[in-house]
Symmetry: C5
Subunit: 360 residues, 5 copies
Amino acid sequence: MPKFIKNISKTISYPPGTIISVGEEKAQKAKLSIIDYSAEQFEEKNIQDPQVCLSFRDKPTVTWLNIDGINDVETLEAIGKCFDLHPLTLEDIANTGQRPKYEDFGEYLFVVLKMLYYNQNQDDIIAEQVSLIIGTNFVISFQEKEGDVFNMIRERLRSAKGRIRKMGADYLAYALIDAIVDNYFLILEKMGDEIEVMEEELVSNPMPGTLKTIHNLKQDTIFLRKSVWPLREVVNSLERGESKLIKKTTHIFLRDVYDHTIQVIDSIETFRDMVSGMLDIYLSSISNRMNEVMKVLTIIATIFIPLTFIAGIYGMNFNPEASSWNMPELNWRFGYFLSLGAMLAVGLVMILYFKRKKWL
Amino acid sequence: MPKFIKNISKTISYPPGTIISVGEEKAQKAKLSIIDYSAEQFEEKNIQDPQVCLSFRDKPTVTWLNIDGINDVETLEAIGKCFDLHPLTLEDIANTGQRPKYEDFGEYLFVVLKMLYYNQNQDDIIAEQVSLIIGTNFVISFQEKEGDVFNMIRERLRSAKGRIRKMGADYLAYALIDAIVDNYFLILEKMGDEIEVMEEELVSNPMPGTLKTIHNLKQDTIFLRKSVWPLREVVNSLERGESKLIKKTTHIFLRDVYDHTIQVIDSIETFRDMVSGMLDIYLSSISNRMNEVMKVLTIIATIFIPLTFIAGIYGMNFNPEASSWNMPELNWRFGYFLSLGAMLAVGLVMILYFKRKKWL
Amino acid sequence: MPKFIKNISKTISYPPGTIISVGEEKAQKAKLSIIDYSAEQFEEKNIQDPQVCLSFRDKPTVTWLNIDGINDVETLEAIGKCFDLHPLTLEDIANTGQRPKYEDFGEYLFVVLKMLYYNQNQDDIIAEQVSLIIGTNFVISFQEKEGDVFNMIRERLRSAKGRIRKMGADYLAYALIDAIVDNYFLILEKMGDEIEVMEEELVSNPMPGTLKTIHNLKQDTIFLRKSVWPLREVVNSLERGESKLIKKTTHIFLRDVYDHTIQVIDSIETFRDMVSGMLDIYLSSISNRMNEVMKVLTIIATIFIPLTFIAGIYGMNFNPEASSWNMPELNWRFGYFLSLGAMLAVGLVMILYFKRKKWL
Amino acid sequence: MPKFIKNISKTISYPPGTIISVGEEKAQKAKLSIIDYSAEQFEEKNIQDPQVCLSFRDKPTVTWLNIDGINDVETLEAIGKCFDLHPLTLEDIANTGQRPKYEDFGEYLFVVLKMLYYNQNQDDIIAEQVSLIIGTNFVISFQEKEGDVFNMIRERLRSAKGRIRKMGADYLAYALIDAIVDNYFLILEKMGDEIEVMEEELVSNPMPGTLKTIHNLKQDTIFLRKSVWPLREVVNSLERGESKLIKKTTHIFLRDVYDHTIQVIDSIETFRDMVSGMLDIYLSSISNRMNEVMKVLTIIATIFIPLTFIAGIYGMNFNPEASSWNMPELNWRFGYFLSLGAMLAVGLVMILYFKRKKWL
Amino acid sequence: MPKFIKNISKTISYPPGTIISVGEEKAQKAKLSIIDYSAEQFEEKNIQDPQVCLSFRDKPTVTWLNIDGINDVETLEAIGKCFDLHPLTLEDIANTGQRPKYEDFGEYLFVVLKMLYYNQNQDDIIAEQVSLIIGTNFVISFQEKEGDVFNMIRERLRSAKGRIRKMGADYLAYALIDAIVDNYFLILEKMGDEIEVMEEELVSNPMPGTLKTIHNLKQDTIFLRKSVWPLREVVNSLERGESKLIKKTTHIFLRDVYDHTIQVIDSIETFRDMVSGMLDIYLSSISNRMNEVMKVLTIIATIFIPLTFIAGIYGMNFNPEASSWNMPELNWRFGYFLSLGAMLAVGLVMILYFKRKKWL
């Protein structure tokens, strides 16, 4: 639950544009790393002072500034000043409760995305907010914590693999978004595996605990939907947007990301259908099993009740001496065995009847 | 229920534009307070006579007139005359059954919103209608009762914190709407907490009373949806509207409110999904538990029924003296203990069988 | 059911434009009443001969012709000729199975509405079709039966209250539509009360009959939806329509009616959600109660079955004289009381066990 | 089921435009009848040779060619050549698995509709495909079998009733479509009656067979929806279409058909809601009844089990002679009647308890 | 499950435009076959070296290059170079996890489709990705494996049947798409048959295994929907697209394919409704049957319990010698038979009562 509503109440009742970090950890010094490149040249370094950015800002090369840690209000403000960011943009970067969105501020584009991880320990999906600022020749990425899915891109930049070094800031932004969306497929595969395992289990051996697991899977699909649906709009806006910051040649790549987003949404909707189908099957499996138990038990009881009745009859104390009409069977030679035989017969007839009716 | 349909019948059958207060309390004198400010100057006072407004109306400074109490027809009419409000506007202000809406009357914009409170005593969400009139250099806000979420804004105005004193009436209106929407997050957090508590309870200890609570949560989400969905349209109309009363610089702030509204709607929809998921889990938990009870009880009965049958057999009165074939066991040396042993054996076999079938 | 599909089959297989009354009552002479007014002048009278209308038609004053009874084909045709109505219009007026609609015939506007009543005797909602013809300076209203919700408007016209006498035919049409829509709120309040009562009853004392009532409420909401949803379009078309017959000043009033319509739809949707929620609660209440019954009964049975088994043991006839190993307890001094005590102990243990498991 | 997917596989794997009849009957010679009329003149005859059409084609009078039987490939091709029909049109006419559609081929309009019948014997709805070709001054109608709903129109043409003889081919096409749509109301009435009967039965006497009937009703609504929903688009396209073949004066009549179509759709949706409501009621009625049975039976068992226990106690064989503590009641004077009295008392107390708890 | 998410994870983390085959089989040499034709001329051959294509590329005749096997990265790249394909196109061709899509690259159109097969052995639907490149006078088709639904078209090309040899590359592309869509009807018929069989079985003899089958049918409809819904958009885009590569005369044929797609979607939606209806019926059938079992068993138990009670009474040991009030019946002449008669009477009364209540 907490993952749905993140301490939003902290941020209200401040003037708009105030940067309030909503994270639970204490504000730590943000880590800044800069990559500056062109087709010919490449430079990478970690920096301490946001002011350093100024020197990169106006160079014709493409600059990628990555910030890990968004609780550091001072750094955020320094970067905001350096790159002329709107106060509302800074507020949105710090407030991790945003849904994915795209805003065109003219001088720069602001994109909020959700990076998803599978938490191995708690078997849980975790979302981290990634904000991107796309300018003429720079991209700034803000992340909540260190560790991301961008290493592949750094590697490509360093080794000048593919066309990335020859393209502009918009292509870099595309590459970052693509890396995040591609990562969703890993989540989907994990979920797909889990669903497959569950389906097997459902048919072979449904347990009360299964309900909890299905419920968790359902929550996960709800959570995924909430993160991915708005993403579709975001990528679509980027592709169709008329911002001059996105070059024409990049559009075709963004359309590719868009296709991937649709594929992700498609799979989530399919998972949803499947999970709700699993709930139906689980419920009817459980109820089938319970009915099976009740049926067998009732049958045992039903067979013995008439037998007990017969035994009850010959347990009556009518006095044979008072009248020869009273329970003459008691004095018959084979009375006892006849009565046992009668019981056996009744029991067999009932079992046959049940078998024929297919209740056994 | 009464919160869904407020004494609307009172207002029908009057000519349109007639002001009828639908509140249940007696009409009380409305309380008027005025705040008049510009970047340099600030004035705040409570007034008695609505006519006083006239003097503020044409000043170039921004004037915020707040009215607490909308049952006071006379005052409403006086204000209406003073600011040239359309009779239908006044009717809508007095009639608290409105859904959030936005209307452009050319000379002024009319916005109806719902302010939501959590009633601590009854654990209930309460809605209060807030109407805003946005003019060239004035904003009028109408509230049902004293007490609101605007104190933060008054404070900012007084202390000239942020940019609010430097902006016009449209920015003030934005600030008021923002305060109302931000307050929704508090409601959402409360509901989120309640849902979280419920989910724990559901799994660990479902009780019949739980159903009532889930039902109440569901009603609350229905109520919230009804209040918030139209709000989206309202804020969107304000942002996209072509009224000259909203300056361009304010649009970006309204877009921010719009984003918040979408976030609120998103969360409500998520809550809805979760609450209906909880109902499913509750129902199957209850039925699981009941089945558990029935099963154990039936098993006990089933074990003893064959045992009782055996006891019944040796309670029969076949006469051993009439024939040595009759119940010879009765005269065996260890007949009694053999029969007890047989019962024990049957009982154990059944228990083992049940265990193996995992019914126990 | 009959209220959903009204003898439509009667009307098919006639050439289009043929007036066929579908009512079940015999065609009666329609009652015509005319109100003619301007700001200064007012005239009201009942007329017999539709031809009289001709004299009013071309007067600059506003004329309101009201017809009660639409089975009178002759009168309909006479009015049609007098006001140049299209044959299809007349067919639609006579055929009460129409859904609310709006048509612009150039010379006049044709509006079909549903007037709703609560039938006190059968606790049922009844719909009556009201058709309006809006011309340059006349309005014609057709009703199925005498008795309507327009008296308030007649009174306002007579007493020249409000602005109605100063406005044109379009404002009169607005007033009539407004009266009909306002009347829906009465229906909604009645339904709201009924739902509230039902909800109380559901929790405190669910009865099999409740199902029938919930079903009826559901049918009522389906019926209301069917009548009100198309109304929205109708009023919207009137407001946005480009017909010159509707003056600009009337648009704002029509927008007000539109808002009311949306409010009505909103409430119906809320009722729908609540009624379907009630069905869930009813079903689980009933099943909870039944389970409660079954549980207690099963517990009683389960307690006594082992006790009866003990009694059965000491009812066995093993012969103590044949062997001192046979049922020595029977000859013990306190054998009887010990056995009774054992039974009591078993019973108590079971009760305690059930209590601890919270099954009792 | 077969009515949903008609032997479509037969038609695939042929080049497009190949005419393949999918009907199950052998191809029979099609029957052609021609009606040629203008306001003054009327001619009607059956023809054998499609070539005869050529003489009618270029006459200024309106020509209605009706073909019964679409398995006759030769005739279809002859007509196609005669009226210059596109091969795909002919393919669609022969392939009865089409959904209702409208296509504008410039020279002519092609409309596919479904004519619905109630099969009296099997209590089933049957669909027959009717294709219309609307040209400048001719209409061609193709039907699967003889027998249709057009007799009323033929009669009107013969007797020159109404305006039909004075209008063009487009009005004739309208009349044919109107006849088909009007016929739907008959189906709706039949279904409405059936639903009404079912609802009565549901409450008074639910039977297992009822489930099958509800299921059939549901299938029928699915089938109707499938046939009627696309019809809406078709009629709308005809009305809004910019084809010169439809005159302006005919538009108002097509709008009338459109209204009827909406009414039909409305009713089908209502039926759907009602049928699914019936399923809910049926299920809970059945389960209520079953619970009722189980309850009464369990109560009987529960009352007798404690009584049997008491009887069991006094059936124990503790030896009164061994000790005067052993079962002294057996020797009491009124021991027997006291025990019977105790049983009676226990039984009555339980009955009273059950009554008070309202379980009886 | 694996069919929903195909090893997508393999493809992520590569630069965009990298061709990665996701199939599980080892990359095999692709098989290339070329058909080159015009109205007068026809040439067909298998080729090894993709370079051969170059000679065909610029000929005015229509060239159809078919590639079986998309794991062969080298061949793909060679073809890509030869026909100037965008790297993203090649990536999409190799990655079989695409959803159907249409992209206009100016010089060529790129279409991805799903070819569906019914796997006879596993009773499962299998999807194979088919990619089409449509250029000015060539069509390239990529398939995962050998064997396709295009043989009919090859035959038509060879024999110059129909108009296909006279038309351009766009018509060929249409023919290929049409063949794929037509093949869907075969799948639909198979599913239709299966559903029909299931429906019969459901009513006559529901079994626990039925649930699994219904679940599989549901999965199949989900899978089909996922494949076919985007197809609709694809064909619509092709038809409405403004690409000059599609000639006007081909539009009408594409509209025909579009109609077929709609028909397929229609049928899938109908199947969905039916399958979910079947689940309802299955569940209530199973529960009906189980209730039937429980009822009969409970009735047997209920009849014998009072009888056993009577037998228990006369098994009590009250001492007739101690008092003549004690169990005098035991010494009556016909006491035994009277008691048996009483039991019979009680049993009969209960059976009659059950019969009258229609529980038996």
